[in-house]
């Protein structure tokens, strides 16, 4: 099965408002050492083990260096951030027990989390998606995610300034 690695960055390495992954540039002798190429970290938040499995495989297939972790509800996701873990991208389901995606997104934004949070939901109506977006999402897509959409999301993260 796909690798699931513990969340990477320590709190001190991520400043508020910064989402950029540092890229190595392979410069030659005598030049300033290139920054270490950082993998993108993705948190997959969904109460369905099936969806977590599918999205974990998808994330590992997009061709971007990435590490992923899963959470089975919004509270687990929030607790991960509270414990000092951080993620570049959060794929957030809406309907989950204990704490749903709307509550979790609001809580993360109130905590000052600036990760890209992308809603992933079975709710298909525009009004429903608007409600989810209003919680503080950066974007929202229907389930299941396709590899093309995921590529766009993660590529955007890699090149975002």
């Amino acid at each position: 099965m796909s690798k699931q690695v513990a969340g990477a960055a320590s709190p001190s390495s991520r400043s508020a408002g910064s989402r950029k992954a540092e890229m190595g540039d392979g410069t030659g002798v005598g030049s300033t050492p290139a920054p270490v190429k950082k993998k993108l970290s993705v948190l997959i938040v969904d109460d369905s083990s099936m969806i977590r499995t599918i999205h974990t495989i998808l994330v590992n297939r997009v061709g971007v260096e990435v590490e992923s972790k899963v959470a089975e509800n919004g509270k687990v996701a929030v607790d991960l951030f509270r414990s000092g873990e951080s993620f570049d991208v959060v794929l957030m389901d809406w309907e989950m027990p204990v704490m749903n995606g709307i509550e979790a997104t609001k809580e993360l934004r109130n905590m000052g989390v600036d990760s890209m949070i992308v809603g992933v939901t079975s709710h298909s109506m525009d009004t429903e998606k608007d409600t989810f977006m209003a919680a503080g999402l950066d974007d929202c897509y229907g389930k299941p995610l396709s590899i093309e959409i995921l590529k766009n999301i993660l590529q955007k993260m890699k090149t975002d300034d």
């Binding site: 099965m1 796909s2 369905s48 083990s49 099936m50 969806i51 499995t53 599918i54 495989i57 998808l58 297939r61 309907e95 079975s122 389930k143 299941p144 396709s146 590899i147």
Partner: protein, 164 residues
């Protein structure tokens, strides 16, 4: 049109070809009958040497999920008064997971089921519950056949065709 991974290198080529054709015909029929949609193909494309049993694993997870959800729905419909919101929540979950595996008929049944939950139609919900149960059983049977055919192809030294 099917594509093929790798080369067959064991059993007579005509046997492998026959098995592959039977597989393609069977899978094609599942698409034509509306049992599966393109999402299933997308899942198959994610299977590779590092995740050789991915499709089977996802299908297994789906059936564990769906059994649990169907039992929850049945229990909720037996209570008085019926908590239609709870039933609807479970149907919504099943719709999401069936959509993710490409189980088109199950997904479409869930859409109808939800409309009966919204109107709080007890009879409508009971009928839909039975239909969903039946459809999940049919899907399980057909996917088991499909996976068995895949094993036969691989056992004969062939490779499983991927539908485009």
């Amino acid at each position: 049109m099917p594509r093929f991974h790798g080369q067959s290198n064991h059993a007579p080529v005509d046997i492998v070809n026959q098995l592959q054709k039977q597989y393609v015909d069977y899978l094609t029929s599942l698409f034509h009958e509306g049992v599966l949609d393109d999402q299933f193909t997308q899942l198959q494309k994610l299977q590779d040497e590092s995740n050789p049993d991915f499709t089977v694993e996802v299908a297994t997870l789906f059936f564990v999920d769906s059994d649990k959800l169907i039992n929850n729905m049945a229990a909720a419909l037996e209570r008085s008064p019926v908590d239609f919101k709870q039933v609807d929540a479970d149907v919504h979950q099943l719709k999401g997971s069936s959509s993710s595996i490409g189980a088109m008929r199950v997904k479409n049944l869930c859409i109808t089921f939800r409309s009966f939950c919204e109107t709080q139609s007890y009879e409508g919900c009971l009928i839909c519950l039975q239909q969903v149960k039946n459809e999940c059983a049919v899907l399980k049977d057909k996917l088991q056949n499909l996976f068995r055919m895949e094993q036969q192809i691989v056992g004969a030294g062939g490779s499983v065709p991927l539908m485009d």
